[in-house]
């Protein structure tokens, strides 16, 4: 698995969210300060496609993906992208979501509506 990872081309950021506007906004925020290579995924299938093809440094993963659930693929994502920082995004700020995300291995958690600084702060680390 690891060797397979090394052979994958490098990209910088993957944004997984079913809402076009949210993806566009995050992309715009990032582009304003960094010249990163950004990919966007709409649902679980697309996200897994990207993850199997490329290596990412940061992955922004929405919990509410319509019929899919970000939390359920979190494990897979961490496995396929051991070097990436996975940051969950959610419109619901129930503490249970935060806890279960952390338990499943998320590196960060952002609550909508978030300020642009929040995204930037995760990119700086």
């Amino acid at each position: 698995m690891n060797s397979a990872n090394l052979l994958k081309p490098e990209r910088d950021v993957l944004i997984v969210d079913d809402a076009f506007d949210v993806r566009a906004m995050i992309k715009a925020i990032i582009r304003e300060s960094y010249n990163f290579r950004i990919d966007e995924a709409r649902d679980q299938k697309q996200a897994l496609n990207f993850i199997n093809k490329f290596n990412y440094q940061k992955i922004f993963l929405d919990i509410d993906l319509g019929k899919d659930d970000g939390l359920s693929i979190l494990g897979q994502v961490k496995e396929l992208q051991p070097k990436a920082q996975v940051i969950m995004i959610s419109a619901h700020n129930t503490l249970d979501n935060v806890r279960s995300a952390v338990v499943k291995g998320a590196d960060g958690f952002i609550v909508k509506p978030f300020s642009p600084q929040k995204i930037i702060s995760f990119l700086e680390s």
Binding site: G108, F114, Q117
Partner: protein
């Protein structure tokens, strides 16, 4: 009074119902009693007459006695028919009739040693009467007791017939007792039935009313939602419309600026609307917490008066206030909510007073239990229809009023609900075109040792001048559940000029921390819902790297270790010491840049004080010159210069509380913009039309030729 269901309309208390039931029974009895007694007496009379006529071998004495008796009975009979029992209390009447009837009869009969048949007849009549007087068992007992005494007394005089008399008396007693018991039971049953009937009626009535109330409430809710939806869509239309217009058409920078202004303004309005709606839903769900703390009446009033003064000045309304002493120095209540109510009413008064006068009067009621704020204005006033709907949501005069005067239409509704929750009230009186008078009433809860003031105390020299402290910049999140502590720390931070967000429990703190990027988080370690320690851990786990400073009263080494392990970078001990607090804040936040410092100075702090007044004087001079230039450029038809100057005035007048001037200048600028736009569009239209016309003519010529 008849026993119809109309009379179910009054009170439900058991004593009253019992009394009503007894009265009901008496009334039912009234028609019957005289008839019964009359019959009894008639029969006795007949018996006596019969006796007199049949049993002729009687002594003279016996005959005269008998005649006396007959005469008495005849009189009583007459009484029955001619003197209606209406004039006497029914019970007394029956009692005396029975006694008067029974007493002489028995005595006489005993003396005459009459034929037992006649006595039996009398007795039988008495017994029937007793049964019929089941309507008032108490009376039957009284009558029966009397009867028994009389008979027993009589038989003592006639020893020979002792047995007969004795057994007759016993029989009498037993019969009376049986009749009374039967009647009591019957009455009880009747009474219970009556009560049940009443209860059933009451339950029915309540259920029907509840249903009506509910359907009315549902209607109100639907109407409210419909109104709310409309109120929210209106600014949204403006926002989306102007945003779209910027996107599609090519616009000048000026137009874009204006469109953005409109979008922002509508956004602000939407925000205040949503805040109001949230307040309403909290109030209706009973989740609105009204605090009760002791605060200085005059400090609080001075704050409000200052704010109203500023507002009144911008609208060119004259504002004065009057205090009726004695007034307490401190009162208990919720200063924030009370301020919300007063500012709402005062704001309305100023809004609707056109160029008039608004006055505030503060007084205590005579019994010193209520404090009354009276707000009077000489504005447009309200008619009855408006007054009726005044404290209902989204009814603000009419919708054109809302558009002209601004506001959400929810303020008075919220204020009314708030005052009700505080145990007070808001009342209003108004005359169209003359003005209105609002009265805000609050029950006065005074602290244990209350000082009463006879005159207005000097204004407290408030906080230290913010300019004395070095201003810092940054965003700080404060999580503290105790409201007084929270206010104190917020106040300290505000003096340093930082941007503060507050949370009152750990869950809120985590929420905020995951939404915004904070430069510093102050976390109280003991909080409800989720305590500081757990919140800190969660925030760190969620990848937020903002420095977290623990606020705690536990400062033993073990505790400090725990907090640091959870992710706190520093621990600040409670009670808060000013120097240490400032030291810590300074170590995490950076000083403000010069320009930022100037911008962040709050308008309030800046707009009072000498410095500001001097600047204002200077500005008046500048304004004079600007106005001169306005007139010049208009008379010389220099449109662009006119627009530029108007734009300058628009931008500057507002800073010196001359917002009406600013608005007027904006109107000039807008008019020129409209003229320009109109010119360009019309020119285009003219040119197109000329082209089309000439093309048509050419084609027409060609067709003519060919």
């Amino acid at each position: 009074m008849n026993a119809s269901s109309n009379h179910f309309a009054f009170s439900n208390s058991p004593t009253e119902l019992n009394a009503y039931f007894s009265a009901l029974q008496r009334e039912r009895a009234r028609p019957f009693v005289p008839i019964v007694i009359a019959c009894a007496m008639t029969l006795s009379l007949i018996g006596l007459l019969h006796d007199t006529l049949l049993f002729s071998p009687l002594s003279e004495q016996g005959l005269s006695l008998r005649l006396i008796q007959i005469a008495m009975l005849a009189c009583l009979l007459g009484l029955q028919f001619f003197i209606s029992p209406r004039y006497f209390q029914l019970e007394t009447f029956i009692l005396w009739s029975v006694i008067i009837f029974a007493l002489p009869s028995s005595v006489l009969y005993t003396l005459i040693m009459d034929h037992p048949l006649l006595l039996t007849l009398n007795l039988a009549l008495y017994l029937c009467a007793v049964v019929l007087i089941q309507l008032t068992p108490k009376l039957a007992i009284q009558a029966g007791v009397f009867m028994v005494i009389i008979f027993l007394g009589c038989q003592l005089m006639i020893r020979e017939s002792f047995d007969l008399w004795f057994s007759a008396s016993m029989f009498l007693v037993i019969w009376t007792a049986a009749a009374i018991t039967a009647s009591k039971i019957l009455e009880n049953h009747n009474r219970r039935l009556f009560m049940f009937e009443r209860q059933l009626y009451e339950i029915n009535r309540v259920a029907v009313k509840a249903q009506e109330d509910e359907s009315k409430a549902n209607q109100e809710k639907s109407r409210f939602l419909a109104n709310m939806s409309h109120e929210i869509r209106t600014p949204l239309t403006a926002i989306m419309g102007f945003a779209e217009s910027i996107k599609h058409d090519s616009k000048s920078y000026q137009e874009i600026q204006e469109a953005v202004d409109i979008i922002y303004r509508n956004g602000e309005y939407l925000l205040s609307l949503i805040k109001d709606i949230l307040d309403i839903s909290k109030v209706e769900a009973g989740k609105l917490n009204i605090e009760s703390k002791s605060f200085s009446l005059f400090d609080w009033l001075h704050q409000i008066i200052d704010a109203v003064d500023r507002l009144a000045e911008t609208k060119q309304v004259h504002f004065d206030c009057d205090f009726n002493f004695p007034l307490p120095e401190q009162i208990n209540g919720d200063p924030l909510r009370l301020q919300q109510v007063l500012m709402n009413v005062l704001g309305n008064a100023i809004k609707f007073a056109s160029a008039g006068k608004v006055s505030l009067k503060v007084s205590a009621s005579d019994n010193l239990k209520i404090i009354v704020f009276t707000i009077t204005d000489n504005g447009i006033g309200m008619d009855d229809k408006t007054l009726r709907n005044l404290f209902r949501p989204f009814v603000q005069g009419d919708s054109s009023t809302t558009r002209r005067y601004g506001g959400t239409g929810l303020g008075l509704y919220i204020s009314y609900q708030l005052m009700q929750r505080m145990g007070g009230d808001i009342r209003v009186q108004s005359t169209p075109n003359k003005g209105s008078e609002f009265t805000v009433i609050l029950p006065m809860i005074l602290p244990a040792s209350c000082i009463w003031l006879d005159e207005e105390p000097l204004r407290r020299i408030n906080q230290e001048h913010p300019f004395n402290q070095q201003q810092l910049s940054g965003r700080v999140l404060l999580a503290e559940d105790q409201p007084d502590n929270r206010e104190l720390i917020k106040h300290l931070l505000q003096q340093l000029g930082v941007d503060i967000t507050t949370a009152s429990n750990g869950e809120e703190a985590v929420s905020h921390a995951l939404q915004e990027d904070y430069h510093l988080i102050l976390m109280d370690m003991q909080m409800p819902v989720l305590d500081g320690l757990a919140a800190t851990k969660l925030i760190r786990d969620a990848g937020c790297k903002a420095p977290i400073v623990a606020l705690t009263a536990n400062v033993m080494t073990a505790d400090i270790e725990r907090y640091k392990n959870a992710g706190c970078v520093e621990v600040l001990a409670k009670p808060i010491q000013r120097e240490r607090f400032t030291e810590i804040i300074h170590s995490f936040l950076e000083p403000q840049q010069e320009s930022v410092a100037k911008q962040n100075q709050s308008a309030q702090a800046f707009s009072t004080g000498e410095q500001f007044n001097n600047l204002k004087q200077n500005y008046y001079e500048t304004l004079k010159q600007e106005l001169h230039q306005l007139r010049e450029s208009f008379s010389q038809e220099q449109i662009q210069t006119l627009k530029k100057v108007a734009h300058r005035i628009k931008g500057s007048a507002g800073n010196f509380n001359l917002s009406n001037v600013s608005e007027a200048a904006a109107d000039i600028e807008q008019a020129i913009t409209n003229l320009e736009r109109c010119f360009y569009y019309s020119m285009e239209s003219i040119e197109q039309n000329i082209q089309r016309q000439s093309h048509n003519e050419q084609v027409g010529n060609r067709s003519e030729l060919s």
